[in-house]
């Protein structure tokens, strides 16, 4: 009798699991629709996701993925509100969002280092952060990854950032440095230096990663999704990881695939776009795709506390998990 009752209970649980709403579809045969939020627009830098889609990794894992482009702050809020299952955001966004009560968790590291730096003309005489004192430094704005990267460099070098003449110039760093309007500009290391080089301006770059290890871009999910649909996350992380590995193994194939996802890429300056991809690859190389280094989270929190973006320290171990990545 007891065995019959247990069997009935198990059958009821299976039925219940099949009826569970939300993102869970671990027991279904059909592909699960998944909306993935990422950056402002399609770009060669998102190529691992295009490759995972094109080579059928998402399909094999049971996902029907739609890419959606939006600012990462909006993406994080939508994930926290349960409107989207996943988004690609930078590490600092997780700590900032969690402080405001947005229950998101970083479930997979993609960029192994923080891809921000400070670029300056090689002939400018600038060599170290101390050389920036009294200089004009252009930055997209006093917020976001660029500002955090700038402050991280200055903080790590022990330089008071107030001694630097920061100017908010929007995303016009290439033009501003090329025209000599700024002595240096805060940039994404895989992007603007390549474009400046193409314009014939030889630049050097101080990279955040040369000074401090911070969390870069990665995949986030909500606490609710982690609790209710862990297999969904595990499957997505695995497919995404396969996409990263495929790009690292064959960048030429990846570039070809990206052309059907990034409008205008086929007509763009191929040398520049390939250089952006090659530079990005250096940030994706790792022996353990997806793994989050706890120290990088502590470092990130220290930077955010120092610049007043966080009002108080939080338990950073709650902001990320390595549960879904292979050891």
């Amino acid at each position: 009798m007891k065995r019959v009752a247990l069997l009935l209970l198990a059958a009821a649980l299976i039925l219940l699991a099949g009826c569970t709403p939300g993102f869970s579809a671990e027991a279904t045969q059909e592909r699960t629709p998944v909306r993935l939020a990422m950056g402002y627009r399609p770009d060669i830098q998102f190529v691992p996701l295009y490759v995972a889609e094109e080579l059928g990794y998402f399909d094999e894992a049971g996902f029907d993925v739609t890419f959606e482009h939006m600012p990462e702050t909006e993406a994080a809020q939508l994930v926290g509100a349960g409107e989207l299952p996943f988004a690609i955001v930078s590490g600092e966004q997780v700590l900032l969002a969690r402080e405001q009560g947005i229950p998101i968790v970083y479930v997979m590291t993609w960029w192994q280092e923080y891809p921000v730096g400070i670029a300056y003309a090689s002939e400018s005489g600038i060599r170290t952060p101390a050389d920036l004192v009294g200089k004009r430094v252009g930055i997209p704005g006093l917020y976001g990854a660029s500002y955090i990267g700038f402050e991280a460099i200055m903080q790590s070098a022990g330089i008071d950032s107030a001694l630097v003449e920061l100017e908010s110039i929007g995303y016009n760093q290439v033009e501003a440095l090329y025209q000599g309007q700024e002595d240096a500009v805060v940039i994404y290391v895989n992007n603007e230096p390549v474009q400046l080089d193409a314009l014939g301006l030889v630049v050097d770059v101080m990279r955040v990663s040369d000074y401090v290890h911070l969390m870069g871009n990665g995949l986030i999910a909500s606490e609710e999704t982690i609790a209710s649909s862990p297999m969904l996350i595990a499957g997505f992380v695995e497919a995404f990881s396969r996409g990263i590995q495929a790009v690292l193994d064959d960048p030429d194939q990846a570039y070809e695939i990206a052309q059907s996802y990034v409008e205008g890429l086929a007509e763009a300056d191929e040398a520049v776009q390939r250089s952006i991809l090659e530079e990005s690859l250096t940030y994706w190389q790792t022996d353990s795709i997806g793994y989050s280094d706890p120290q990088a989270w502590i470092n990130m929190q220290n930077v955010l506390l120092d610049i007043g973006y966080l009002q108080g320290a939080q338990d950073v171990s709650q902001a990320f998990t390595n549960l879904f990545t292979a050891p």
Binding site: E99, Q100, L142, I169, N172, Q181
Partner: protein, 264 residues
Amino acid sequence: MAAEYPSTRARNGVSVLLRVLRIPLSLLLFLLMWGAISRWSDLPPFMLPSPAAVGARFMRTWRDGSLLYHMGVTLSEVLSGLFVGMAVATVMGYILAKSPLLEQILSPYIIASQAIPTVAIAPLLIIWFGPGRISKVLISALIVFFPILINTILGIRSVSEDLYDLMISLRANPSQILAKLELPAALPVVLGGLKIGATLSVIGAVVGEFIGSDEGLGFLINIGRGLYDTPLVFVAVFALIVMALGLYGAVIVIERSVLRWRTG
């Protein structure tokens, strides 16, 4: 008749009371609806904060002076942009009103310029004129230019030919015709354009601040978004609304003052 008097008086009293209270009442209704939606909808507080949370954030920014500072920055850009845009638009509008040939030549370019989204040219202006306040003033001036220009042309052209004939018969010179006839006659329409321009100028300055700035209400909104501080975004947006309403009200006051002669 004597029996009707108190009820008429009572009706008038209610009417006056309603007139006085309609804005506070509509504001209260708005706050109640907002509070109800934030409380009973599925939207979490980080997407739709309650009026109380926004009020508390307002008090913080008010007390530390940051709201006043950023409002001051935006207001100075808005007023400068409005002044520059209005000056250029009225002068150019007068010239075009007087010269149909010039209007035919320039109109396609002026209309085409309106088809360009401000957000598309704002980054270029910041590159050309630097990240300081000048670029924001120019963006604001550009956005107010068109409505004031069009209304100036309409206003000048609305002056009756008979009045021109009268002025000429009185041997008025061109500057007297401008000062005594054209400006007073065109003023109501020009001020109509200024009302539109006053509210648009706020948008212009904030677009510039969005693209690249470290001060102003647009910057405050960017900071709020970047830090997931949605109440701060609401505070800055409401400050912009207050600013736009204030400017609109100021134009109405000016209008009533300078056009008093029309109503005697």
